[in-house]
């Protein structure tokens, strides 16, 4: 058992930390972290940040060197996430491009596709979104109905996507479509296209979430056009592409766990500073018990992540047990933010400009409900753990 970092890893951390301190937007470290409300302005600022990361060599550290990455080890990725969480770095506007599309193209894309897209993913010139969910295809992604039909030397795409993150700022979409129907084997007949978002057949409509934000969109496709050159992998074999893509998502949960850890520390600080009847709420024995309980759960999930990471490092790729990390971090985040709102007493319901504590726990609490749904619901995670870790029989119909 060894929790230390190697000299090389420490050097990596220092290098990144130094770079961040010199390159984060003016005033960021001191707390000036508000991003523009206006969509164009928001997109411009975050693209500029992405480009800065690229120029510093920090945009896609896990990619191979030949494609502009650093060939980072898993531990370096972990350190990267820790440092980004530490400075509350601006969101990575091309998250999907960097962490999902890019690695998948590097793995199974054609030389032309690599040439055409990879550099622009790194620089932030082309922002990517992911066209997965549909009104009738949520947890059961195989129920998707968006159709791509060959029409001469092009494909015509018709259908609707929903919960498309970054859809409103995206230039390209990693789109799942149905190209043939196999009622018995619904995983077959799915094809992945890289679709241009800037064309007459594509319309995006923002979704107003329960927390007031508009992070997601509906995307309507009416005779949208793509070509053979835009297909990832083979026609009708998109499910293999999806699986390859998921294997590249190596350390995303780590970033969420480090954020959770930070939120727990913020909660402790809130309990120490927030006063009711002139007394800090941390003096309340019930609050203390709950804090101890959260401490155990947060530390436990972080340590469990390190345990699974050790296995991943030894085996070369993550196993099914990493589903436990996703399940735990999202449910814990929900419970923790609810607690942070609860200890504020009756003022806990005050919102936005009238909220009495910082960070705005009310927003964190409301946003947390998206986390147990997006990226595979808690129920889907439990099925995966039950079937792939414990070996229980599969559900009916699957």
């Amino acid at each position: 058992m060894d929790f230390s970092f190697t000299k090389k890893e420490e050097k990596f951390r220092t290098e990144l930390r130094t770079w961040l301190e010199a390159n984060l937007p003016e005033g960021w470290l001191e707390g000036k972290r508000d991003l523009p409300e206006d969509l164009d302005e928001y997109s411009r600022v975050l693209r500029a940040w992405q480009n800065k990361l690229y120029e510093g060599g920090w945009a896609a550290i896990a990619w191979p060197k030949e494609y502009g990455g650093r060939n980072a080890t898993l531990m370096e990725e972990i350190i990267y996430h820790q440092e980004m969480v530490r400075v509350k770095a601006p969101p990575l506007i091309n998250y999907i491009g960097i962490h999902m599309v890019g690695p998948t193209l590097i793995d199974i894309g054609t030389d032309e596709q690599k040439e055409k897209y990879l550099k622009k993913i790194l620089t932030g010139e082309e922002i990517w979104c992911q066209g997965y969910s549909e009104p009738g295809a949520g947890s059961d992604l195989t129920g998707l109905k968006t159709r791509a039909v060959k029409d001469g030397d092009r494909w015509l795409i018709n259908g609707q996507k929903v919960w498309t993150s970054f859809g409103h700022v995206a230039d390209k979409c990693f789109l799942l479509t149905r190209t043939s129907t196999h009622p018995e084997k619904k995983h077959r007949g799915i094809t992945v296209f890289m679709m241009d978002m800037h064309q007459p057949g594509v319309e995006t409509v923002p979704i107003v979430q329960m927390d007031g934000h508009k992070d997601f969109n509906e995307v309507y496709m009416t005779d949208a056009v793509a070509t053979d050159a835009d297909i990832v992998g083979q026609v009708d074999a998109g499910w293999h592409v999806l699986i390859a893509l998921m294997l590249h998502e190596r350390t995303g949960i780590g970033a969420e766990l480090f954020t959770l850890e930070k939120q727990f520390n913020d909660t402790v600080e809130l309990a120490q500073q927030y006063k009711v009847n002139g007394k800090p709420v941390i003096e309340n024995p019930v609050v203390r018990q709950k804090l101890a309980n959260f401490y155990a759960r947060v530390r436990g999930s972080l340590l469990n992540y390190y345990k699974n990471l050790t296995t991943t490092i030894k085996n070369g790729q993550p196993g099914a047990e990493t589903s436990i990390d996703k399940l735990v971090v999202t449910e814990l985040n929900q419970a923790l933010s609810a607690f942070a709102v609860e200890i504020q007493g009756h003022q806990g319901v005050l919102f936005d400009k009238d909220a009495v504590a910082d960070p705005k726990w009310q927003h964190v609490f409301l946003a947390s409900f998206g986390q147990t749904i997006g990226g595979g619901t808690s129920e889907v995670q439990r099925n995966t753990i039950g079937e792939r870790v414990l070996g229980l029989p599969k559900d009916m119909g699957r």
Partner: protein, 377 residues
């Protein structure tokens, strides 16, 4: 970064598991229900032969001088089979306490005998209608005519009938409310009135001991007089780290039982493990197990370091393990349905042991407060 047990530690686990399986696993606990500790004694002899009883004892006292982490596979395997007895009290409470506070003579007297398996030590701290705190310890050790005299009652003393010696926590100062306690280590003598109590965890024997003018020699006091509570905390850290490992082993057993049963039990024409109501319940058990395991492995590593979170890590491992052990073992009965409510199936053994340990030397709120306080909050 490597958060895993070593190959040697895992190999050692294999030996212990094989040995305990030859005794029928939980059969050892069932034999204790029938007041038959013969196989349990054989287990101890074998554990001593394997070197388990000397793992954390320095070489000069015939031990192996290894760390708490090296005991983890042993404790997990004992928990897996719910092995009762005093191995945990002896190795994880008494040994660390002696290493830190005992005189050279006291160490010579006890450590080699513990390493060889000759001596098992029980822990007599709890008292009727009192809690586990300085105020709850009233059993009085008083100086009279140049000697110490002990009077009072201890309860819930584990496996007193198998113990060769007892670590006692007694009051030596009536004025000091924060401490005023002392640790005493005595061999079993005639002057102790031991009465077995009936407990709903029948496989874990507990007794009441009455001390009536028992003479204690000064060299039987461990460490400083009146500082017993403070000194006990060091041993409690090791004990609770070990306890969390034992419980992880027991939870592993429970999750395995539930999973395997859900694969073979059929209702409505299919294995019940196919139903999400059952599947997700077992998954929740598995998640609790893995989190508890991660906390306990870390606790057993950190306890031998001087990291800032040493205490918080151990006590959070204990509270998480004891709380979730109750939950997991209760769900196991529900998943087994009617058969789970019978005496024949092992389910009930685990629920009873879970409840026993949750309330043993400190409650969940007691340790939760320790977590928060140790972090300076």
């Amino acid at each position: 970064m490597d958060f895993s047990l070593t190959e040697e530690q895992e190999m050692f686990r294999g030996h212990i598991r094989k040995m305990l399986d030859t005794f029928g696993g939980t059969q050892l606990a069932r034999e204790m229900i029938d007041n038959n500790p013969e196989n349990l004694k054989k287990v101890y002899t074998t554990l001593a032969e394997l070197g388990c009883s000397g793992i954390n004892i320095p070489e000069e006292y015939d031990g192996m001088d290894l760390d708490a982490l090296d005991l983890v596979p042993t404790f997990e395997e004992m928990g897996r089979s719910l092995v009762p007895g005093l191995f945990m009290e002896t190795s994880a409470l008494v040994v660390p306490t002696l290493k830190k506070y005992a005189t050279e003579e006291q160490k010579q007297q006890y450590l080699p005998a513990i390493a060889s398996g000759e001596k098992l030590v029980s822990f007599a701290a709890l008292e009727p209608f009192n809690d586990f705190s300085p105020a709850g310890i009233q059993c009085a050790l008083v100086q009279q005519d140049g000697q110490y005299v002990l009077n009072g009652t201890k309860t819930l003393v584990p496996e007193a009938e198998l113990a060769d010696a007892f670590l006692l926590l007694v009051r030596t100062n009536q004025e000091d409310q924060e401490d005023g306690l002392s640790l005493v280590l005595i061999d079993k003598t005639e002057g102790m009135n031991i009465e077995k109590l009936s407990s709903f965890d029948e496989s874990k024997h507990v007794a009441k001991i009455e001390f009536n003018h028992l003479i204690i020699k000064e060299d039987q006091i461990i460490g400083e007089v009146d500082k017993g509570w403070m000194q006990l905390q060091e041993g409690l850290l090791y004990f609770n780290a070990a306890l969390s490992s034992y419980i992880v082993g027991a939870m592993e057993s429970v999750v395995h039982m539930a999973t395997e049963y859900a694969k073979i039990r059929e209702q409505f024409g299919q294995a019940i493990g196919r139903f999400q109501a059952i599947k997700h319940s077992i998954v929740n058990m598995k998640v609790h197990l893995e989190i508890a395991r991660s906390l306990s492995h870390y606790a057993n590593w950190v306890v031998d370091t001087d990291e800032f979170d040493r205490e918080a890590a151990v006590y959070s491992a204990r509270t998480y393990a004891t709380e979730k052990f109750i939950e997991v073992s209760a769900h196991n009965i529900q998943i087994h349905g009617g058969i789970g409510f019978t005496e024949e199936i092992d389910c009930h053994l685990f629920v009873k042991r879970a409840r026993y340990y949750d309330q043993y030397v400190g409650s969940t709120p007691f340790y939760q407060e320790k977590v928060v306080a140790s972090l300076g909050w």
